[in-house]
Structure formats: C-alpha cells, structure tokens
Amino acid sequence: MRRAKNLSIGDAPYAFKKRTSASLIWGTAAALLPALGWGIYCFGFTAAIVVAASVGGALVGEACAGALMRRFTLWDGSAFLTGLLVGMAMPPGISPLIPAAASLFAVSVVKGAFGGLGSNWMNPALAGIAFSLVNWPAQMRAWATPHHLAGLAGISGATPLGFARSHAAAAIAGSSNMDILVAGGMRASGIDASVTEALNRGIFSPLGADLPGGYIDLLLGNKAGALGELSAILILAASVILLSRRVIRWEVPASIIGSFALLTWAFGGLSLGNGFFAGDVLFSVLSGSFLLVTFFMAPDPVTSPSSRAGMLIFGAGTGSLVFLLRTFGASAEGSAFAVIMMNCAVPAIARLDTAATRRRAAKASAGTARGGNANGAR
C-alpha cells in the first residue's frame, strides 16, 4: 500500500481563515505598543519597569496555572496582553510590586482558576486593576506629570479628570472643566496653544465656534495620568487599525461611547451648575482610562456577549455605568468597575439571546426550508 508520510488526518474543514486566536491577541498587544511608548517617553525608565513587572507577573501566573493544568499556554498571548493592560493602567511612579501582584492575581486567580482562557467571566486585566485599586488606593492615585511638561506643571499630583471633579463644587457656576483646570494652575503646552489657534483660525472661527485651550493636550497625552492611558490619539489610532481589521468588533465600543456621550452631554453640566445639555463630552471621553477600557478591555470577546444585540446592550449598560460612577462614585475614574459590573450581567444578556435563538429554531421548524444534503438526503 502506498502511503504518503506525515499527512494530517482529521475531520473537515481542511481550510481555515489564516487568523488564529493567538494572532488576534498578539496583534492587539502590538497595537498598544505606541501608546505605551509614549508613556515611557513621558515618565522615563521607571514606567518601563512598572510595565515589565506587570507583564512578568502575568507570565509567571500563566506558567503556574498552566503547570497545574498540564498545559503550556504562554504562546496564546493572553497572559502577555493582560500584563500589558494592567501595567498601562498604573501610575508611573508606583512600586513595581503592585502591578506584578495585580497581574499575577488577574491571570492565576481570575482567569486560571476558572479554567484558563475562554472560561473566565471577568476580564482579567480589569480584575487586576480593580484589585490594586482596592488594595493600594493611595498608591494608585499618586499621579505624576510627564517629564517634558515639568515647567508647565500646575496641578501636579492629579489627573485633569480627578482635579476637575474634586474642584467642581468650589467652582463658580457656569465655568467649564477647562476653566477649573486653568484656575487650578494648569497651563497648556506650546503645542496645544499653536494647534488650538490654528484650528480656531482655520475651522472653528468661520463656523462661529471656538475651541478652548487644553483639549489638544488631552488628545495628544500631555497630561498627568496612568502611563499607558495618556495619549488618546495613539489609543484611537490603534483602535481604528484593530477595528478595520475586524480584530475588535465595533458594536461594544460604539455603544459605550454613544451612551456615555449622550448621558454626559445631557447631564454632565449639572455638577458645574450649567444646567441640562451642557456637558463637556470631549473632555470626558478623552480623559482617564475611558478610551483604553472601551476599546481594549470591554470588547474582550470572552467576557462580553457574542451576538450583535447582546453587544449593544452590554455597551449601553457599560457607558451608562461609567457616567454614573464618574459622577456619583467614590473616585473620578469609573470605567474599570463599570465594565466589571457588566461582565456580571453577561449571562443574563446571553439568556435573552438563547431565548431568541430558540424562537428562531421553533419558527424554522414550523415549515420553512430545512437544511440537508442534496435533495433532502441526510
């Protein structure tokens, strides 16, 4: 009998789309590197050490969980990505032990204990972040101003988001977030001043609008904040690449941003005494961890619904919760906890989904076309 050697045998299909889960995860991690690079540029070597510690903790956690389950899973990239995301959410000057512990916890307990990738119900990176927020609240809010802004630092020790919130009560009615920051001593960078001026001259003035200073700094990442969350524009660029390559699906981020923007616009002005429909959407979206969480943690397929309707519900819930937590919660930042809460709601959303599927199956059996091999023979 003639046999060809080393043939793989198995069941159909025998062709696959080239993309694998590992390539999806590594691709996501790669897309985050520019934003991380900006953080390291801003805060120097210490930031790099923080991230390295976080990634290291995650890899150790994965290796240990894998050893217990007799599986080698480091190649799938998911531990690396978790470590990276946890590290990027850290304040730059934090002790490396905290991110290392957080990632270790995230990967070994939150993910590993539930059976590894695909079986966890809570996003591990978010769990790690929440873990450190709960255990080391003070260290997790020790913000620093980027090196290259040292001369401008007016509100050092606070992020724009946190500062605006904590000083809102004392502000004169009718002022904006930016007014508060300026009153607090924040100065826009040179780039911000020139870009804002150019935009105003070229685009906004003819339209009768005026862009106040400061937003360009928020967009570019000239501000205090977690080391990977500074630059909104780099995070957005990464998201656009991943969205266009369909690594992230659009439904979850779109509905988070939509619902959050709507609520912010409608009610966000109230705390400043500006009345309804006067919220500063741009400021809220560009600050804090909102974008990183929205594009890189909330859409995690494992911990979000898989149907389109489910994803939209999930996103709307998350966006609303972010708004509520930021407005009424204990701290200025609410994105991480909002997603964790919605992670808990996923099984309920999925039940709605299966009910819909069952109705569809029942309808299909009630007489429409029936699948099968040619001519009804199965």
Binding site: A4, S8, D11, Y14, A15, K17, V302, A369, A374
Partner: protein
C-alpha cells in the same frame, strides 16, 4: 443574464487558489493498471459482488448488483482480470468490499464511438429503469441512486442544475459544463422528461459560462443564473434561496443535480454507457500541475497525482471532495468513486495552523453560520452531552457545511462534533 445573486444569511468567502485554469477540454487520465472499484459508492447498502477472483471482466460489465433501495449497480471501469476482492476503507469512514481489476485485454465497447440511442421514444419508466441498470447515482455525497431520487416524484416545481463551485480547488463541474454543453443539454432534456419541472435553471458561479449555447429544441425555458461564489452557495437551501428569490418553490418541490450527474444520465441513456467515468479536478499547492481529468472510477488517487507531475514538496494533507465538506485520506491507493469530484493535495502552508486553543466566544462562527445557529453554544452543549438542549437550539438544522469551522480562530472542532450528531440523527426514524 442578471447580475450575480446569492443567499441571505451568513456564509464565507473561502481564501485559496481559485485561479488555476486549465485550457482546453479535459484530457483522459491514464487507465489504471489496477482499478480498485468499491462496491459501495452510493447511499444505500453495498452492492452484492457477482464476480469471483480470477474471473475475466469486460469493461462496463456489472460486478456488483444493487442490494435493495438506495443501493446501485457497480460496473467494471476497465477490462481485465479480477485480481482481488478485499475489504477497503471508505474515505467518509466505514469499510466496504472492493473489487481490484488488473487491466488486461481490449476495449471492445467503450473505446469505440457508439451509436446514439434515440431515447425520445422511451417512456418515463423505461428511462428510469435504464438509469438504474447502468448504476447512475447523484454525484453529490452521499450518492443517492438517480432512480430512487427521481422515481418517486410525480410533480416537480423546479429543476436546478448545480454548477456552483464556491470553494477553491474545485473545477470539475464548471469544466464539464464548458466541455460538454450540448450533451448536458440533452441530458437535461432526459431529466425533464422524467420530472416535467415547471422551471429549469442552470446555476453557475463563473462568468465564462454565460457563453453556453441556447438549449436544444426540446424546451425553450432553461435559464442560466449566475450566483456569487460565496460558500455554501452550492448547498440546497442556499441554492434554492438564491435561484428562487420569490420563494415560489418549497424545498420539496425542487430537484438539484450536479452537471456530472446529468452527464452520467446522458451517457447512460444516449450512449448506453454505465457510470464508469467522471470528471475530477486534481489540484492543491503541493501538486506540480493541477488539472481537470476524465478519470475511470476506481483509479487510485496516487496514479492521478503522478499524472499531474507528482508532488512539489511533501504534501501536508490529502483531501477528497473539497476542503470544507470533503474527507482526508492518507492512502494513495484510495480510489476515485462516483462521488469524488476532486483530489486535493495541500501543502503545509495551505493547511495552516491546526493548533487548538479554547473558544474565546468571539461570535465569528455564529456570524457566518448560514443556518443562523450559534455553533459555539451548540458545541458546548454537545460536549457536555446535553443533546436535547442542543436540538432545541436548532442542532438538527446544521447542514455540516463547515463554515463555522473555517472561521474559528481557535480551531475548535465544531463541525466534527455536529457531524457525529447528524449521523446519529440520520439513524433515528423520521
């Protein structure tokens, strides 16, 4: 001709080598020195062997007799001596008897240009019994005998000739359509005589086919419909949905046949030839010269691969039928059967990563499922043994098309688990 149409829900575009083209009509493949003729090439019971070892068989002689309904006659595809009768594995799983015929002697019948039989005077039943005698089966798996497929039907709404090839590597049907269009038109007339359908459609995915000759004198109403090459456009529900957008005909009202089936019917009736030959596309990245060949049933696939220049490098996988619904084999002696449309030798790059990882619930499988199922959920239920829950969620509608398995980035063995379930469903009384 209208612009290309397609089905509504799900589906995939299969990446791969769609572009290889063979110029000119298909060549006859070399005759096999030893033809391995399986006695089960149809859906029903294995045919009863009617030859003995050492016996001389002529070409086209019956070597296996149909055994009950859905079984079909099997004929020797070459003249020669029965060298062996052995149990042989079937590509789709299971085993059956095979008659090995060593080529010897002269081609007294099929080599010559035969007379054309004037079938127009034949009655419906006479045509049907001739098709049965000559062992004509549907060339789509599982190979329903044409007699069983057509004889029970009194009234047919729509006859669809399915030349749709929406997977890479598959060329046989489209090639046959281009090579043999007058013969196919006559074959269609024969089938129409049996079924008298209200509408007859040839469905294709290739633009060249628009140059088909107009149908012959018999019926003016054979339409040509061009469909998008989106998988699984060639499956019955999707085909009917695309062809019959107005949903005039129910699935029970439709008969779908491959051009190769129609051609076999033509040869059986007009040339009085049993089903001993078929078009096979031989291709894949591991092969030197892909080609569409006219192949005798029973030819070992190793012979065809040699004829196509052999392997470029070590093949990583050999597939019979198609990369999405076919079967992999490792035996170069595996023979061509009446339902083998393609031999595909994939190289390791085409096979790609087979590394399984856990389901990440990305929802891609549900997005592409043409039957609107949630394969990841079904898989989890089947794996936990909750078959009834899975049936409630529509497992019974899975056509085992393979689309979900194709897109799954974790290579979760979705389709294999559904295939096992659908086999066990098939055994249950319906």
């Amino acid at each position: 001709m209208r612009p290309s149409r397609t089905f509504r829900h799900g589906g995939i575009r299969v990446e791969g080598d769609f572009d290889w083209e063979q110029r000119g009509p298909a060549q006859n493949a070399f005759l096999p020195n030893g033809a391995v003729i399986l006695l089960k090439q149809h859906s029903g019971k294995q045919a009863r062997c009617v030859v003995r070892r050492g016996e001389y068989v002529r070409e086209g002689m019956v070597i296996g007799r149909a055994d009950g309904p859905f079984s079909a006659n099997v004929h020797s595809s070459v003249p020669g001596v029965v060298r062996d009768i052995r149990i042989s594995p079937l590509p789709e799983g299971g085993r059956a008897e095979a008659v090995v015929v060593a080529l010897e002697g002269a081609f007294d019948r099929l080599g010559r240009r035969g007379e054309r039989y004037l079938w127009k005077s034949m009655g419906r039943n006479e045509i049907l019994s001739t098709l049965r005698d000559r062992g004509v089966v549907d060339t789509e798996a599982p190979g329903l005998p044409l007699f069983d497929l057509l004889s029970e039907r009194q009234e047919t709404g729509i006859l669809i000739i399915n030349a749709v090839e929406c997977e890479p590597y598959l060329r046989a049907e489209a090639h046959l359509l281009a090579d043999k269009s007058p013969e196919l038109m006559e074959g269609i007339s024969i089938i129409r005589k049996i079924l008298s359908p209200k509408r007859t459609v040839i469905a294709t995915t290739r633009s060249e086919d628009s140059s088909l000759p107009p149908p012959s004198d018999d019926g003016p109403d054979v339409e040509l419909v061009r469909l998008e090459a989106r998988y699984p456009q060639d499956m019955p529900r999707q085909l009917l949905e695309a062809v019959d957008g107005s949903r005039k005909f129910s699935p029970d009202d439709a008969v779908i046949l491959r051009p190769s089936t129609v051609f076999a019917a033509y040869e059986a009736i007009v040339l009085a030839r049993p089903m001993v030959e078929r078009y096979v596309s031989v291709s894949g990245g591991a092969l030197k010269r892909p080609a569409v060949l006219k192949v005798r049933i029973g030819t070992p696939i190793g012979d065809l691969i040699e004829e196509c220049g052999g392997f470029l490098g070590p093949p990583a996988r050999l597939v019979l039928g198609g990369v999405l619904r076919g079967h992999s084999v490792h035996d170069l002696d595996a023979p061509i059967t009446k339902t083998t449309s393609a031999v595909i030798a994939l190289d390791s790059e085409e096979v790609g990563s087979l590394l399984r990882s856990p389901c990440i619930r990305c929802g891609r499988c549900a997005e592409v499922c043409p039957e609107r199922l949630d394969p990841d959920i079904l898989f989890r239920l089947v794996k936990r043994g909750l078959r009834l829950r899975a049936l409630e969620l529509g497992l019974g509608y899975c056509t085992v098309c393979g689309a979900c398995g194709y897109v799954c980035p974790s290579r979760v063995p979705l389709v294999a688990s559904f295939a096992a379930e659908s086999h066990s469903l098939g055994e249950a009384p319906r």
